[in-house]
């Protein structure tokens, strides 16, 4: 270490120690916890099964596996680990194939929310003025419109395809994501590093993309995982009303086949098993989202 003045040498020594101490403290904080990894493993299994369902050794989700001399539904067994429904269809296969639709709906919905909501929120929060007035007004309209009514309206007017359902739920996620993006943008725009970037000659586009976006995306993505859970549940809700995707199984539709009160008492596995899968998936999404948020919060406060 160069000897410039006494003061400098002294501080640099202190700083080295502080840096080490900080690094150690950060290493402690930086574990996301075992629960997070369990959630990630569960989500990995579910997403893998859904994504590769046609190529995995699942049974045909629409075939009727009637066993001679016995009336369906059949309880869980070696041939049907999750059992079958009243039409002798394999529930494991239906859950896996149903996941394709349910998770696609969730992903598309939240991607739409992130893109449009994020864009509108950042522009509103950064430029304020008229941008803010217009976009905030749109958010208020979207939030005050009863979401279920909007979903019923769209799905009953248009064909009930995967695209329609995804877009419907996507529109509903724009406002919540947009509001978070707007609020976060405002709080970061007031931080001095944005002003500092401007005093160094950065243009608006550069400030938004380089300075604001990376900071705003973190809280947004935590919300995205939570929002995906909500979208998956919303799809199940629409299925209950008979308004989900027409063709093929979805989680909501699989649950619905076993949701009659007589069925629930006599053949509980039909509804309960897909409910459990849905429940753990949404729980895992929420948990992972929450952990990510607090993980980055901790990093933020360590500043």
């Amino acid at each position: 270490m160069s000897t410039t003045t006494d003061g400098i040498v002294e501080t640099s020594g202190v700083d080295d120690e502080t840096i080490k101490a900080n690094a150690e403290g950060a290493a402690e904080k930086r574990t996301l916890g075992i629960g997070f990894w369990i959630a990630v493993i569960w989500l990995g299994i579910v997403f893998f099964a859904a994504a590769f369902a046609p190529w995995l050794p699942f049974k045909d989700p629409d075939a009727n596996y009637i066993q001679r001399g016995e009336r369906p539904p059949y309880p869980p067994s070696m041939t049907h680990p999750f059992g079958t429904d009243q039409d002798a269809r394999d529930i494991l296969a239906r859950t896996a194939f149903g996941g394709r639709v349910s998770l696609t709906v969730g992903l598309v919905a939240i991607a739409m929310g992130m893109f449009f909501g994020g864009l509108m929120g950042i522009l509103a929060g950064y430029f304020r003025g008229w941008w803010d007035r217009i976009f905030s007004f749109i958010f208020i309209i979207l939030l005050s419109f009863p979401s279920l009514v909007l979903a019923i309206l769209i799905t009953s007017l248009l064909e009930r395809s995967l695209r329609t359902i995804s877009l419907t739920l996507g529109i509903l996620t724009i406002a919540p994501v947009g509001r978070v993006a707007r609020a976060t943008t405002i709080s970061f725009t007031e931080r001095e590093f944005v002003l500092a970037a401007r005093t160094l000659g950065a243009k608006n586009g550069r400030i938004i993309i380089r300075e604001l976006l990376p900071n705003v995306v973190i809280p947004m993505s935590a919300l995205a995982l939570l929002g995906m859970g909500v979208a998956v549940v919303a799809e199940a809700g629409l299925a209950f009303l008979g308004l989900s995707v027409e063709k093929g199984p979805t989680w909501g539709k699989v649950i619905l086949t076993g949701a009659g009160s007589r069925d629930l008492q006599k053949y509980p596995w039909i509804a309960i098993i897909p409910i459990v899968v849905l429940f753990f998936t949404v729980l895992a999404l929420n948990f992972a989202g929450d952990r990510i948020r607090s993980y980055f919060d901790a990093k933020e406060t360590a500043l």
């Binding site: 003061g7 640099s12 160094l200 000659g201 380089r210 990376p214």
Partner: protein
Amino acid sequence: MSKTAETPLLELDDLKTHFRTERGLVRAVDGVTISLKRGESLGVVGESGSGKTVLSRSIMGLLPSSSVNHGSVKFAGREILGLSAKQMRHLWGAEMSMVFQNPLNSLNPLMKIGKQITEPLQLHLGMSKATANETAVQLLRDVRIPEAEQRLNQYPHELSGGMRQRVMIAIALACGPTLLFADEPTTALDVTVQAQILDLIGEQRRERNMSVILVTHDLGVVAGHTDQIAVMYGGKLVEYAPTKTLFANMLMPYTKSLMRSIPKLVDPSHSRLATIPGRPPDLVNPPPGCNFAPRCLYAQPKCHVEEPPLVEANDPSHKYACWYPVGTPEFEKRDAELQATGYRADDVMAVS
């Protein structure tokens, strides 16, 4: 170089910055005339709300659209007040830059130090990535950051507050500005680090022949680090003089009170710290006479009615705005009375 700097680098002439608000017009900066030569440093001193920060932001053109400017700001002989952000962008970073109060907030937490220094270099000076990196290492060495190469790959949270302020200074110096604003650069830092940062700014100023405007509330901070001092109160200049002249001969009671409110090592322990009673004036409805009169222990009836102009003292470089400055018979008489009552500012206010 020093002899060519006859035309001032920065010339403010009757600069006014007013804000339109729902309550009315806020006169945040109200007629400030200052000139600063290249290589000189100016300390702008005042309480919070005195307009010192708004003054520096007015000069840089960083104010919101609700502000209205009058007067003139000449930078290197060219009028820059009222230029659009697009035109100012050529000056920002390259000709004038700013070091902010809080180093915790003024660095992007998600960008590596190296990236934050090299970006303006690539943007303004068109440097290649490799040259910019080398320059960044050199800049970090200039601001006395040890292990400069490794710092480039670190994030702001890995550095201490003092180190971060050094990085901020390195970024501000990156494109070789001729005018550096330091807005309370040491307020958020440890006392021991404060002196180092101020020394560093002074050292870089001499090395780069750069002008510095040091904005602070602390007269102690500007004492050893500036050539001139401008004391602001309620958006107005109340005393303006070369640093040595000012400390040798303070004329405005406000400057004197600011000085008295700094704790001194020679004071016996548990002695009462002198404060300035009351609050800074309402800038929407300023008092009719002298802005400081309602809080001034030496105010006479005239002070409450008529506003004192900024006049020259015996030494023409020393300007002040006060009817009864330190040394006049009125002041001395009142001072004797105050001495007799034991200088209890609060009590004096309660009586009057």
